[in-house]
C-alpha cells in the first residue's frame, strides 16, 4: 500500500526500540498525589474540595472554569491534605490539590451508556466534557470544544492521529496495539458527534503491529487505516491533513476550516472509556525511556503521580542524569527537578545521561537553507529568527511567524546550532502582545 506524507520535515533518530515492545504496565499510585488544577489549555479548573475532605477515585475535585476548560478528577481515594501551589511542568508553581492516598481504591459511582449508538449528540458531548478529556498528544486542548464546531463549518472527516512522530515515545503505539477496539469505538463515537462521513487512522509505517491491530479492529467498518511515511512532524494536525487528504489548512486557520477534526488515539480511547464506562480521565499511558533509564517501558500512571516516583520505579538515578524532559525530545519541556506530577498531557518522561547532553554555543547563520527545507509549514525560519533578534516583530509577522507550530525541525537541522524556535517563539509572543494592545 502507498505510504503518504507531507512536504518538508526531518528524520531524527527515532530511538523507539527500547520501549516499543514493552506492554503497558500499571504503576501503583503513591502515598501522596499532586493534581494540578490547570492541565489543559484554557481557564484553570476551580477547586471544589477543601483541605480535610475525603475524596473517592474518579470524583470531581476541580470544576471546569469556563467553556474552554476541563474538570479535574481525583485519581485515588483518600483525604485532601492541601490545596496549594506546587511546582508544575512549566517551571512555575501551579495550584494543585494534594491528596493522601488511603490505598482503598474506593471508586466514585460511575455510569456509562450501555448503547451509545442510541444516545443523542449532546449527551455524548456532555459525557466527554464531564470526564475532563483533553487532547492527549500533548497539546491538551479540551476535546469537547473541538467536538463543538460552529454550524457554519460542517465536519466531514475525523482523523485519528497514530503517527507518534516524536522520537522515543511509544505510548500511542502501545495503546493502538493493546486497546485497538477501544480506539476504533472511540473514533466511531467522535464521528457520530460530528456527523462525519469519513474516518481515518494515520499510522507511521515503523509500527507494523499497530497497523495490523488497527486493521483487524476496523474490519467491517468504513474506517481507513492509512500508512504514513516515517518523518517528523508527521503527527502535526496540518501535516496529517496534508498527507491524507491533500488539503491545506489556511494560514491562521484550524483543521475545521477544511472540514476536518484530528484527535489523538489516546484521546479516542479516553472518549470510549468515558462514554461506555463513565470513567473520567484520571490515568494515562506514559513512555519512560532515554539513555539514563535502566528499565524503560510504557506505564499506566495515575494523574498526579510525581515524576520522581515514576523514575524511581524505573530505576533511574537522578543524581547522575544530565537531562530530564517531560514529553518528547522535540516539543517536550526540560525540567530542573523531578517534583512536577504527571498530567493529562504527559506522553513521555525522558532521562538522558550527562554525557549525552551537549550544549554547543550557536555560531553565525551560513545561509545553507536547511531550515527552509525542513519547515513543514513552508516558512523561512532563519529570516523570521533574524527579524526577531532585531526586534522587528512586525516584519516577522509579515513572514507569517504566527503560522509556526514550534515543531523544532529547523533548529534540529541547523548546522550553526542557532536556537531558531526560541527566537521565533519570542517573536510570536511579541506579536500576540501587540495584537492584544491593539484590541
Amino acid at each position: 500500500m502507498r505510504v503518504q506524507t507531507f512536504k518538508g520535515g526531518i528524520h531524527p533518530n527515532y530511538n523507539k526500540s527500547r520501549s516499543e515492545k514493552a506492554a503497558i504496565e500499571c504503576v501503583a499510585a503513591p502515598k501522596e498525589i499532586i493534581i494540578p488544577l490547570s492541565q489543559h489549555i484554557g481557564a484553570p479548573a476551580k477547586a471544589c474540595v477543601e483541605k480535610g475532605d475525603m475524596v473517592q477515585k474518579g470524583q470531581v475535585i476541580g470544576e471546569a472554569g469556563g467553556f474552554v476548560s476541563a474538570p479535574v478528577h481525583s485519581s485515588v481515594s483518600g483525604q485532601v491534605t492541601a490545596v496549594e501551589p506546587r511546582p508544575g511542568a512549566l517551571g512555575v508553581d501551579v495550584l494543585c490539590v494534594v491528596i493522601a492516598n488511603n490505598e482503598q481504591n474506593e471508586m466514585a459511582p460511575l455510569k456509562g451508556l450501555e448503547n451509545w449508538k442510541t444516545a443523542d449528540k449532546e449527551t455524548l458531548k456532555n459525557m466527554i466534557s464531564e470526564a475532563g478529556i483533553v487532547g492527549m498528544g500533548g497539546a491538551t486542548f479540551p476535546t469537547h470544544v473541538k467536538l463543538s464546531p460552529p454550524a457554519a463549518k460542517p465536519i466531514d472527516t475525523v482523523i485519528l492521529n497514530g503517527a507518534e512522530c516524536e522520537p522515543y515515545l511509544t505510548a500511542d503505539h502501545r495503546v493502538m496495539v493493546e486497546y485497538a477496539e477501544d480506539v476504533v469505538e472511540g473514533l466511531q463515537i467522535i464521528r457520530k458527534i460530528l456527523g462525519a462521513q469519513n474516518g481515518y487512522i494515520g499510522i507511521e509505517v515503523n509500527k507494523p503491529d499497530a497497523i495490523a491491530a488497527m486493521e483487524t479492529a476496523c474490519k467491517g467498518t468504513d474506517i481507513k487505516v492509512a500508512r504514513l511515511e516515517i518523518k517528523y512532524p508527521q503527527g502535526g494536525e496540518k501535516q496529517l491533513i496534508e498527507a491524507l487528504l491533500k488539503k491545506e489548512v489556511p494560514s491562521g486557520g484550524l483543521p475545521m476550516d477544511v472540514g476536518v477534526v484530528v484527535q489523538n488515539v489516546g484521546t479516542a480511547k479516553a472518549v470510549y472509556d468515558a462514554v461506555t464506562k463513565g470513567i473520567p480521565l484520571f490515568e494515562r499511558v506514559v513512555t519512560v525511556t532515554g539513555s539514563a533509564v535502566p528499565k524503560p517501558g510504557n506505564f499506566m500512571i495515575s494523574i498526579g503521580t510525581p515524576v520522581s516516583v515514576v523514575l524511581a520505579h524505573c530505576g533511574v538515578d537522578l543524581d547522575t542524569a544530565g537531562k530530564l524532559i517531560l514529553g518528547g525530545p522535540m516539543m517536550g519541556f526540560a525540567q530542573y527537578s523531578a517534583a512536577p506530577p504527571v498530567t493529562k498531557g504527559t506522553s513521555g518522561i525522558l532521562v538522558f545521561d550527562a554525557k549525552d547532553v551537549t550544549l554547543v554555543p550557536p555560531v553565525a547563520c551560513i545561509r545553507c537553507g536547511r531550515c527552509l527545507h525542513a519547515c513543514p509549514m513552508r516558512l523561512v525560519p532563519a529570516e523570521i529568527a533574524a527579524f526577531s533578534e532585531c526586534r522587528m516583530y512586525d516584519k516577522a509577522e509579515e513572514f507569517d511567524a504566527m503560522d509556526c507550530m514550534e515543531c523544532g525541525s529547523c533548529a534540529h537541522e541547523c548546522p550553526s546550532q542557532i536556537p531558531l524556535v526560541q527566537k521565533i517563539r519570542l517573536a510570536k509572543q511579541e506579536i500576540m502582545a501587540a495584537r492584544r494592545k491593539k484590541g
Binding site: L90, G91, D93, Q335, L359, Q422, R425, L426
Partner: protein, 314 residues
Amino acid sequence: MITALLVLCGVGLVMAILLAIGRKAFAVEVDRKLELLMDIMPGANCGGCGFPGCSGYANALVQGSASPTACPPGGDDLAAEIGKILGVDVETSEPMVALVACAGGDDASPKRSVYSGISDCKAAHVVAGGFKSCTHGCLGLGSCIDVCAFDAMYKTENGLVRVDPDKCTGCKKCVATCPRGIIKMVPKKATVHVLCTNPDKAKAVKAVCSVGCTGCKLCVKQSKLIKVQEALAVVDYDSGTEIPDTAALACPQAAIFDSREYALTDWLSNKSTRDTFEKRADEWKTAEKKRKAEAKAKATAKADAQKANKGVES
C-alpha cells in the same frame, strides 16, 4: 570659453529666479510653534511620552492633545520651556527614575538550571519560568539595557542590572520590557528602597534567595512609610521618602537598600560592602537590644517606686 561661462551663468540665473518664484508660490505654512518645539525636544525618540517620537509629541502639543509635562527625559526644564512657547502654565512634578527591585545576584539566588538559549530575558522567562531559583528575580540578561536610549542601565558582575539615577530620564521603556515586572518607578530623591518583589511567604522566599523580603514587618516598626502587602515590604513613596537608616539596619534579610550609606553597585555586587553592612546592623541590633532592656528596667524600677510610694501613702 567665454560663451560657455556666459551660458552657465545664464542657466544659473534662470534657475535661481525659478526657485525664488517657486518658493513663494508653493510655500508650506509651518506653525512657528512647531519649529520652536522641535528645536527644544531632547531628540531621543524614546516614546516615553506615548507619541511616536519627538516630532509626534511636538505635533500633539501644537494640536493641544498632549500635556506639556509628558516628556520624561525633558523633565521640568523642558515642561517650563514648552509652557512658555505654548503660553500655558505648567505645574512641575516630582522627577521619577527607574529602579530594578532585585538584589539577588548569582551568589544570593543561585541558578536552578543551565540555560543555553538566546540572551533575552523575555525568551528566558518563557522557558520554564527562567533559570533562576527565584521566579521573580532579575535574570540579568539585559533586555532592559538594550531598550534604554540613555545608557542608564548596567549589568553588575553577579548577574543583576542596576539603574544610574543621574542618567535615567524616567521614560519607562525598561518597565514595559521586563518580563518579571520588577522595574519600578521611584522618586529620584527617595533614598531607601526594598530591593525585592517576591510576594511569597517567608519559607518559600528563604528557599530561593538569601536577600529576599520575608514580610517580617521589622522595618515597619522603624518607619510608617514602609507597608507590608501580602508578604512583601513596599515603600509608600506617595506619602514621603524620609525613611531613617534604621529601617535598613532592622531588616534581617538585608533586603532594604539605603543609598545614603552605600553605592548601589557596591550594594549589589561587592561582598565587602555587605560585610560592612552586616557588622553595622549587628552593632545596631545589640545597641537596640540594650536600649530596650534598659528602658524596660527603668520602667519596672519606676513602677516599683510608684508601688512603694503608694504603700507609704496608704
